[in-house]
């Protein structure tokens, strides 16, 4: 009984900032895209730069307030910054989006071939060499 209680307790609660649920984020990419240092981002959202580092490293999960602040700062929805499942690389997502969109080009139509089909079996009565053709 005690084991069950402890097990449930450990799975559903946080111990300090060591959360049992891993939250993935795109902070390093977003920060690099904008050319920001950790200190600059930390100043913008009002936390210590170490906290930004721990967030990026996945050692700390942000509060809703901090997540909203980061979302407002980057002008992106929260789900674009944080996710419960690992993010795909941005480049591959962008590329995948481009290839998934329907094409506007006119579809290729298969034109019927006008060439005579090649036959594999040679015609025994057909001339083989130029001399035979002249004859």
């Amino acid at each position: 009984m005690l084991y069950l209680y402890n097990n449930t307790f450990m799975k559903t609660t946080k111990r300090g900032d060591e959360s049992t649920i891993k939250i993935h984020n795109r902070l390093p990419v977003l920060r690099a895209e904008r050319g920001l240092s950790r200190q600059e981002l930390a100043d913008a959202v009002g936390v210590n730069f170490q906290t930004i580092g721990y967030l990026e490293r996945g050692d700390y999960n942000p509060s809703l307030e901090l997540a909203l602040q980061l979302s407002e700062f980057f002008n992106l929805p929260i789900e674009a910054i944080f996710s419960r499942s690992p993010f795909k690389p941005l480049s591959s997502e962008l590329y995948a989006r481009n290839t998934e969109t329907p094409r506007t080009e006119t579809p290729r139509t298969e034109t019927p071939r006008t060439e005579t089909p090649r036959t594999e079996t040679p015609n025994p009565q057909a001339p083989r060499t130029p001399e035979e053709v002249q004859k």
């Binding site: 111990r15 300090g16 900032d17 920060r31 690099a32 050319g35 920001l36 240092s37 950790r38 200190q39 930390a42 100043d43 009002g46 936390v47 210590n48 730069f49 170490q50 906290t51 580092g53 721990y54 990026e56 490293r57 050692d59 700390y60 942000p62 509060s63 307030e65 901090l66």
Partner: protein, 156 residues
């Protein structure tokens, strides 16, 4: 207050911080042990160990010098507050247990008269200063011990 302005000193690696915590408590224990030795050998142990203990205790009493999340609410951001509250809760539990067992021990020792009790000045000093050292430094020592390795600022 700007919470990003705190911890201006360079954060220290966890191994160094742990060495400071160990230096504080081991220094205290060795210093207390040194007092029991003969005169020439006593000072060789008491002076360096006492010096190390006091230096490390001074560092623990000024946690911002170690780059550790410790301070008032206004100085800390949400992660640092979480860490501080967690370690303070752990310290409270540990101290509570120590006080409970100490009270139980002294109750049995006094009533039975068979167990050890501090009698002379030296033994009373060891118990008194040991208790003071633990009470003063334990919360910060736990924070200093458990804080993960710092992440150095990048130059982007």
């Amino acid at each position: 207050m700007n919470k990003t302005a705190i911890m201006t000193s360079t954060p220290i690696k966890r191994s160094v911080r742990r060495a400071i915590v160990l230096g504080c408590y081991l220094g205290g224990i060795l210093m207390a042990f040194g007092w029991t030795l003969e005169q020439p050998l006593r000072w060789f142990l008491v002076i360096p160990c006492g010096f190390a203990c006091i230096l490390c205790m001074g560092s623990l009493l000024m946690p911002y010098t170690l780059g550790v999340s410790d301070g008032t609410d206004e100085m800390l951001d949400e992660r640092q507050l979480q860490r501080r509250n967690r370690t303070y809760l752990d310290a409270y539990r540990i101290l509570g247990l120590l006080v409970m067992f100490a009270a139980l021990y002294f109750y049995i020792a006094v009533t039975s008269g068979k167990w050890w009790l501090p009698k002379n000045e030296y033994e009373i000093n060891v118990v008194f200063w040991g208790t003071m050292l633990i009470c003063i430094t334990l919360p910060t020592a736990l924070t200093t011990w458990s804080e993960p390795d710092p992440i150095m600022e990048d130059t982007q």
